[in-house]
């Protein structure tokens, strides 16, 4: 049963991941990524990470993907999307990576069936959200605060980058680079 669920989710994830790269229209790529996010959330549920599954659907599927689709439709790009002209360099990088992947795959399967190392952890609490909250606010309190700082900086940075005329009046008298707008 577990194998069946894993096979379904893994198959859909792999197929849609390849479709994200292969499809030419960015809207289709984004929608295929949405399907992949939902199936990753399903995979999280089979791994007993219910809170992360909900967060995955809400943040990735709800916020990030909508932002992508918004930008795609704002910029109105669905043309001239061939592959990069430096695809030889890409192949030169990717083929060793693929070979390494295959080597690791052929060598490492048998050794992964060992029992996990005995860690001194308390038994898994059935309430996943409660356990994550307790851990987040005790052990990982400082990284949690740093994450809030990252979000603040990203918000200010996005506003400054995307807004058209911040500092425009001040920069008017300065010399402008010939490539600037």
């Amino acid at each position: 049963m577990a194998y069946m669920f894993f096979g379904y989710f893994a198959g859909i994830i792999a197929i849609t991941a390849i479709l994200v790269v292969a499809l030419r229209n960015p809207v289709y790529s984004a929608l295929s990524l949405l399907v992949m996010f939902f199936h990753v959330a399903g995979l999280y549920i089979t791994l007993h990470a219910e809170f992360l599954a909900a967060v995955q659907v809400i943040i990735y599927g709800g916020a990030i993907l909508v932002l992508y689709l918004f930008v795609v439709m704002l910029l109105n790009v669905n043309r001239d999307d061939r592959y990069h002209s430096q695809w030889r360099v890409a192949a030169f990088v990717c083929i060793p990576l693929s070979i390494e992947f295959l080597v690791l795959l052929s060598g490492g399967i048998g050794s992964a069936h060992r029992a996990p190392a005995s860690l001194s952890v308390e038994p898994y609490i059935s309430n996943n959200t409660l356990a994550i909250g307790k851990m987040l606010f005790s052990t990982y309190l400082f990284p949690f605060e740093v994450a809030s700082l990252i979000l603040l900086v990203a918000m200010i940075g996005a506003i400054v980058l995307a807004k058209r005329d911040i500092g425009e009046n001040n920069a008017k008298h300065m010399t402008r680079a010939p490539g600037a707008r």
Binding site: A14, A17, A90, G179
Partner: protein, 101 residues
């Protein structure tokens, strides 16, 4: 009746390699950002699989932080794309050679 953790590693490696290939061969900047999302999700699958296998919630907390960083990256990246599109009215990456020497 547990799926061995190597299966999750294989799935995550496939998704990550797809993301790397996408970053390298696509010319659309939005497609490149989508491929970066693929790579982030591949690492998240690894984190959750090992968190379940080792019965340690630290992996899930790290996925939480990865989500935060991904959200920040998307916000800043899309703002950069909008600024680029405003300056050159294209998002084809081969048109941008301002920093090339």
């Amino acid at each position: 009746m547990m799926v061995p953790v190597s299966y999750y590693l294989i799935l995550s490696a496939i998704v990550f390699l797809t993301g790397v290939v996408g970053v390298l061969i696509r010319r659309n900047i939005i497609a490149i950002l989508l491929s970066i999302e693929l790579m982030l999700n591949a690492t998240n699958i690894n984190f959750v699989a090992f968190s379940d296998r080792l019965q340690d919630l630290g992996g899930q907390v790290f996925v939480f932080f990865t989500l935060t960083v991904a959200a920040a990256e998307v916000a800043v990246g899309l703002a950069i794309i909008i600024a680029l599109h405003r300056s050159k009215s294209t998002i084809n990456i081969e048109e941008f050679n301002l920093l090339k020497w």
